[in-house]
């Protein structure tokens, strides 16, 4: 993924209403545009899709979709981009089956690719229904499948979980990650949710009032001091991929193994089967640091590591240990004598972990 660092090339400018949007970025195959509402995220997505006229250049996978200096402007129907608007925008007069068929060549019936996607996103029971009888989460799954079945060069996702309750949001993200893994389709997601950006994308564009504040690898951009202070209202959420090991219903817990191999205990999550992949989050505030292996604590998770850096922001210090960030006070840092290189144990309660996708 990191090898193709300029799969998506954007250099666009347009004025719409009171907003002057100017975005230039070269991105890899999974990218997120992160910004507050009103920053111009949806407008940018529409411009990339060719639904809105903008000056400048867009290329995806080396294919030039528009270039105003060369007089090129491909209409949306010739761009082969899979646009999934907020809430999905299914055609209300067509059944789910016909919505899914809309972007496919005429007469292509239920081929293996279609069946595989229907199975992956669990759409079989929905096929005969009409959009008005679907829940918000179901609509989004159908919209995602409809876009994918047109075999796009790039998926454009607009706020894929907005307005969904936590469980449905979790399932929606998991669905996107599953099709992403199975079809290896490149994606560009716009969102106001830092966690969603970290979950779906390896690169991030920070957008504010139509201007690019920062571009780069997601974790690096998001843990810049300014972003730590401002992004998500000063909250940092660690996101980690894991695989489910087993359930302990009598103990109220579920055991998972993190990508790095560490075993972690999370709240009982019976709807996922052992072996299932999932994404976990934990707030920086909920990670404790110990300078010795912890004993006699009720917290059930401890991971050993070494401090990489201390990031002071206002009256807080963000301590980075490998991929993890813990949020401490300057007093705690002084008392424990923490500096870069100090060996530490990260400690977390079972109930501090939340499943964001799975």
């Amino acid at each position: 993924m990191a090898a193709s660092s300029s799969y998506i090339e954007i250099d666009l400018a347009l004025t719409q209403g009171g907003l002057a949007l100017a975005v230039a970025a070269r991105l890899g195959e999974t990218a997120a545009v992160l910004g507050p509402s009103g920053a111009g995220k949806t407008t940018l997505l529409e411009a990339i899709a060719g639904l809105r006229r903008a000056r400048g250049r867009v290329a995806v996978g080396g294919e030039v979709l528009q270039d105003s200096t060369a007089g090129i402007f491909l209409p949306p129907e010739r761009r082969h981009l899979g646009y999934v608007p907020q809430e999905g925008a299914l055609f209300p007069h067509l059944s789910v089956l016909r919505n899914l068929g809309f972007g496919r060549p005429r007469g292509s019936g239920r081929d293996p690719g279609f069946d595989a996607l229907v199975a992956t996103l669990d759409l079989e029971p929905l096929l005969a229904r009409y959009p008005r009888h679907l829940s918000g989460g179901e609509r989004r799954r159908v919209a995602l499948a409809r876009a994918l079945l047109a075999r796009p060069r790039l998926l454009l996702l607009d706020e894929p979980t907005s307005g969904l309750d936590p469980l449905r949001a979790r399932k929606a993200l998991a669905g996107i990650l599953r099709v992403r893994a199975e079809l290896a389709v490149p994606l560009l997601v716009v969102t106001h949710d830092q966690r969603e950006a970290l979950a779906l994308a390896s690169e991030v564009v920070l957008l504010e009032a139509g201007k690019v504040e920062a571009v780069g690898p997601a974790r690096e951009v998001l843990r810049a001091p300014r972003q730590l202070a401002l992004g998500n209202g000063g909250r940092w959420e660690n996101v980690a991929a894991a695989r489910l090991v087993g359930h302990h219903p009598e103990g109220g817990t579920t055991e998972v193994r993190l990508e790095g191999g560490e075993a972690v205990t999370i709240p009982h999550t019976p709807d996922l089967a052992p072996g299932a992949g999932l994404l976990l989050t934990i707030d920086a505030e909920d990670l404790l640091l110990a300078t010795a292996p912890p004993h006699g604590l009720s917290a059930r998770n401890a991971v050993a590591g070494e401090i990489d850096e201390l990031i002071p922001v206002g009256t807080s210090v963000y301590v980075r240990v490998g991929p993890w960030i813990a949020h401490l006070t300057p007093a705690a840092v002084a008392e424990l004598g923490l500096t870069a290189g100090t060996p530490v144990w990260l400690v977390a309660k079972t109930h501090s972990w939340r499943v964001v996708a799975g």
Binding site: G50, H80, G82, Y83, P92, A147, A150
Partner: protein, 212 residues
């Protein structure tokens, strides 16, 4: 005649309604005014205008007659034309408002799924707006039935050829055949009421089925 007028106005009416429903259409005010003009002008003024354009010596009338051998003024074609022009704004208004009610993201998504603008109109916009379009056509038909002012100027009042229901009624009253006039009035009340009921029913069903 009214049915012919409705058929004549549907395609151009849809085209104008579609153009007016585009949010970024530049000449909206101009087109809107031109389209609505027949609604507020005295129908006789519209008829006079049509007569000047389509009469034997009018620019369009001469062209049609010399090139195609088609006479418009004082024929059944004149009746159809007059009714169509007068009913045009009613159809456009109804069709346009139902096109504007469509979530703009639906045609947008259809474009990204590989459909050109015409295919999007036929496969997404028209099916979603059809109730409003049909209601507009029914209204236009009803308006055409009662057309009087424009018709009498363009087509005259030739019994059996260019005499419409409204013209026939007027003539019966003039010659004192009140009983026949009342019969014709009753027929027109029935036709108009039926058209209005049908059109209202369509509009209300649209409200119900599209509310989520």
């Amino acid at each position: 005649m009214a049915a012919g007028a409705t058929l004549l106005l549907v395609l151009p009416g849809l085209a104008v309604a579609w153009v007016l429903s585009r949010p970024r259409f530049r000449f909206r005010a101009l087109v809107e005014t031109l389209v609505s003009l027949p609604l507020v002008l005295p129908p006789t003024a519209v008829g006079l205008g049509l007569l000047l354009l389509f009469g034997r010596s009018g620019p369009l009338g001469r062209l049609l007659y010399e090139e195609l051998g088609i006479e418009v003024a004082f024929t059944w074609r004149g009746v159809v034309l007059a009714s169509a022009v007068v009913a045009f704004p009613l159809f456009v208004r109804s069709a346009r408002s139902s096109l504007e009610e469509i979530d703009p993201r639906l045609p947008a998504v259809a474009r990204t799924l590989g459909r050109g603008p015409l295919a999007v109109f036929l496969e997404v916009e028209l099916p979603l707006a059809w109730r409003g379009v049909t209601a507009g056509a029914v209204l236009a038909f009803a308006r055409g039935l009662g057309e009087f002012g424009a018709t009498i100027l363009v087509a005259g009042n030739i019994p059996g050829r260019t005499q419409t229901l409204a013209l026939a009624l007027f003539q019966r009253v003039q010659v004192g055949r009140d009983r026949e006039a009342l019969g014709l009035a009753a027929i027109s009340v029935l036709l108009a009421a039926a058209a209005l009921v049908l059109s209202e029913a369509l509009v209300h069903r649209r409200d119900r089925t599209l509310s989520r």
